[in-house]
């Protein structure tokens, strides 16, 4: 086999594998990514029920209700809009009223989010960046109210 033929086979094989990979990547990027929204985005963008997404904001004070079988109901707020969230399971240790939270799940027809994942911050000095951005967007962010990643004082 000549050098040229060998090179052609190599290039052919590489292109083949790369195109398969590209096809896989593109198809999964269409189907399996999740968009992040603030509560106001959810209302303003008229997101249709059944869409998987992440919402972030603060747990609205006074909104946490616990039901049977580990059902937790709470509202996520960015100060402007509230979105009700239903979650069955154990919430993270730092899940508290007035604290930052990110919930991922499906939007229900009644406008609530049926969450299958609830993430809270993992350090009392830190707030998820998405939450900070969502609060900043709605104008409810005050510097120094909590320290985000990126402006923790040294």
């Amino acid at each position: 086999m000549t050098r040229k033929q060998r090179r052609l086979i190599l290039i052919g094989a590489s292109l083949g594998v790369l195109s398969v990979a590209a096809a896989l990547v593109l198809s999964s990027l269409r189907d399996s990514i999740v968009f992040f929204n603030s509560p106001t985005d959810v209302v303003e963008k008229h997101i249709s029920p059944g869409t998987r997404m992440r919402i972030g904001g603060l747990v609205k004070p006074g909104s946490i209700k616990r039901g049977d079988n580990l059902l937790v109901l709470f509202a996520v707020t960015d100060g402007k809009t509230d979105i009700a969230v239903r979650y069955v399971g154990i919430v993270p240790d730092l899940f508290r009223e007035g604290q930052g939270v990110v919930a991922e799940g499906k939007l229900e027809p009644d406008g609530a989010l049926a969450a299958d994942t609830v993430l809270a911050k993992h350090d009392e000095r830190y707030m998820p960046r998405e939450v900070v951005d969502a609060l900043k967007k709605s104008g409810r962010w005050q510097e120094g109210q909590a320290q985000a990643v990126g402006d923790k004082p040294r």
Binding site: M1, R3, R6, I9, L10, A13, S14, V17, L18, V20, A21, L24, V25, S27, S28, L29, D31, S32, I33, V34, F35, F36, R54, N69, L70, G89, I90, V91, D93, L94, E104, H122, D123, E124, R125, Y126, P128, R129, E130, D133, V149, G150, K152, R154
Partner: protein
């Protein structure tokens, strides 16, 4: 005084680094042996000064000197000694100091053990190594000085993030950095080869042990990180496809590819240009990993405090080294001579296949990790790319790769006989098929998991087949077998063992993810929950004070078939200094499986929410990584690599086959 000594030592290391960046290059140009040898002395001295600096910082932590800003931020006088020491690198500044400590250690090792390297190559390698070191010394000194003092020393520190108060912090970062930074040697060798415009099989012989050593550490580091996440996060998951995890997986994938392409280069003098490129890319991915974790573009436990100037500085380092490396490659790669020929069906062909799939798999991880960042920067849209993406892209590529693994070592160099190899693998293949059928019959839900189990068995038995074939077991008289077993190069053992380990990990991942069971419940004292034949009765809650926390411990008695087999005590630790709680899951190993119990909220009536998992075969995941590491270490101890006596580059046709 101590912090100033540390600070000054680091500045001296930088000064030495600057000399080492320039002098050996001039020496190599003028063939001035004295100037070239200077690099070895400066490399050793650099390490000594960085070690002194690191020691100084450690002393500050151990002595709880809160006048030092990082000690105040990350330590507490009541922390156990082990965490006082580990919190040295449990923050941004200190972890960067650990980074340069390991970087200078590798430089010193090349200086100390590179006695048989040609003087010019050694000079160039040490110079390039010093460029990297200088960039990071500057980064630390200008943006992240761990020795900065506070105007007034506070009485007490703000404590280390409780999540990091775990023995895992003592092991995971140093191992990971030994891996990450170890690839800098491969990078330096590649750049040196490009500068000299010549490269041969001997080059690969020098590079391979360093790459192998780095790979061994990185394998352990990644596995250790995964186990730490598993037992500390309370979700029972062992891999989250979190960008920070991906940052360590990408160099591992590229490094694994590099390991294999270096074999082709060493044995057959082929794939030279590709190996050089891969060496540059592997370290580039380590740098990208450092950037992702240290710049604050990601939010995670790993992103300690951040500051925009640091991100920009690391980005500059990134652009300089990756851009510079690739530009040099584009300019000089054509000067490297082409190597030996081989047919597509051959050991080389199989290793090319390995490289193709590993790098493509690495690319998909890269896309999945950086796409959300790029999209947010370009459109402001925020997305998250999670497990489904990686399962659909990385998964199929890895499956294809695993299928070919058993064939590679059995194929002959240059021109292999696929049919003959397939015949030898018949038994392994048949058992794999039977396993698929049995698993499917027993389970009957999905075909994917039984297929994965069959594939993993095929790879394991394929690795054993390779050993059986080489030693002649079952075929030749026992005395011959014994002689062959003893005489077989350790790298052959290493290959088979490492491949076996990969398959073990794969089997564990598939088994635990598919056939694991889970239960979330609220239990009252003296109530019991059962899962997969185990019955856990809740005996009650007790308070147990720790050195700097208060633990709420839940006691459970575990019974199997009515017989008590032990107690599990998951707990919640509340740390008052940071008003934070951590969740300590309780683990009980049953064979290779584990019972996993973690706590949720407790209620006033004494009941508590629990998460209980039974994860069969889960220990295989990490045992597999340990086996991989052992394979790598065995291969590293191979005489040919250890002696490293460079034979003159063999003419391709004469290169000895295994």
């Amino acid at each position: 005084m101590t912090p100033e000594v540390g600070h000054y030592a680091l500045v001296l290391a930088l000064a030495l680094g600057l000399i080492q960046s320039v002098a050996p290059i001039i020496g190599a140009r003028d063939r001035d042996l004295a100037l070239m040898r200077l690099a070895s002395s400066t490399a050793l001295m650099q390490f000594a000064f960085v070690a002194l600096s690191f020691l100084a910082l450690t002393i500050c932590y151990v002595a709880s000197d809160f006048s030092v800003a990082t000690v105040f931020e990350n330590s507490h006088s009541q922390m156990p000694l082990i965490y006082k020491i580990t919190s040295v690198w449990g923050n941004h500044e200190g972890s960067m100091l650990l980074w340069v400590l390991i970087l200078s250690l590798f430089g010193a090792l090349v200086a100390a053990f590179g006695g048989n390297l040609p003087a010019v190559l050694k000079a160039h390698v040490l110079a390039v190594q010093s460029w990297i070191a200088c960039a990071f010394y500057l980064f630390i000194l200008l943006t992240s000085n761990p020795f900065a003092r506070l105007p007034q020393a506070p009485f007490e520190g703000r404590d280390l993030n409780p999540i990091l108060q775990d023995p895992g912090l003592a092991i995971h970062p140093p191992l990971l950095y030994l891996g990450y930074v170890g690839f800098s040697i491969a990078f330096s060798f590649a750049i040196a080869a490009l500068i000299e415009g010549r490269i041969d099989a001997a080059w690969a012989r020098w590079v391979r042990p360093w790459t192998l050593a780095a790979w061994v550490f990185l394998t352990l580091g990644v596995a250790m990180g995964s186990y730490w996440a598993y037992y500390t996060l309370g979700w029972g998951g062992f891999w989250f496809w979190d960008p920070v995890e991906n940052a360590s997986l990408m160099p591992w994938l590229a490094g694994t590819a590099l390991l294999h392409s270096a074999v082709v280069m060493e044995k057959r003098n082929a794939l030279k240009v590709w190996t050089i490129l891969l060496a540059i890319l592997t370290f580039s991915l380590s740098l990208v990993g450092t950037f992702l974790v240290r710049s604050g573009v990601l939010t995670s436990v790993h992103a300690f405090a951040t500051d925009p100037t640091r991100g920009v500085f690391i980005l500059l380092i990134l652009v300089l080294f990756i851009g510079g490396g690739l530009a040099l490659f584009a300019w000089r790669a054509s000067t490297l001579k082409q190597g030996g020929l081989f047919a597509p069906i051959s050991r080389e062909g199989a290793l090319v296949f390995n490289n193709l799939f590993l790098t493509t798999a690495c690319l998909t991880v890269f896309v999945g990790t950086l796409y959300p960042l790029a999209l947010e920067a370009l459109t402001g849209e925020k997305i998250s790319v999670g497990a489904p993406f990686f399962n659909l892209t990385f998964g199929p590529l890895f499956v294809a790769l695993m299928f070919v693994v058993p064939f590679g070592p059995l194929l002959a160099w240059k021109r292999g006989d696929l049919l003959a190899v397939a015949q030898r693998l018949m038994a392994a293949f048949a058992i794999g098929i039977i396993a698929i059928a049995v698993a499917f019959a027993a389970q009957g839900q999905s075909i994917l998991a039984p297929f994965g189990v069959g594939l993993a068995l095929f790879v394991m038995l394929g690795a054993l087949t390779d050993l059986v074939e080489r030693t002649g077991l079952f075929r030749l008289p026992l005395s011959t077998v014994r002689r062959r077993t003893v005489g077989m190069p350790r790298s052959i053992w290493g290959t088979a063992i490492a491949h076996f380990g990969v398959a073990m990990s794969m089997l564990g991942i598939i088994w635990a993810a598919t056939w694991g069971t889970e239960r979330i419940a609220v239990v009252r004292p003296n109530e019991a929950v059962s899962l997969s034949g185990y019955e856990l009765s809740f005996d009650g809650l007790v308070q147990r004070p720790g050195p700097n926390y208060n633990a709420l411990v839940a006691k459970f008695t575990v019974r199997s078939g009515g017989v008590p087999i032990g107690v599990m005590e998951p707990s919640k630790r509340s740390f008052s200094t940071r008003s934070m709680t951590t969740n300590e899951a309780a683990l009980m190993s049953r064979g290779l499986g584990q019972l996993y119990l973690s706590l949720g909220d407790s209620n006033n009536d004494g009941s508590i929410a629990i998460r209980l998992y039974y994860k069969p075969m889960v220990l295989l995941i990490w045992l597999g990584a340990v086996v991989m590491m052992l394979g790598g270490a065995l291969s590293l101890s191979d005489r040919r690599l250890r002696v490293g006596a460079p034979k003159p580059a063999a003419k391709s046709a004469l290169a000895p086959a295994e």
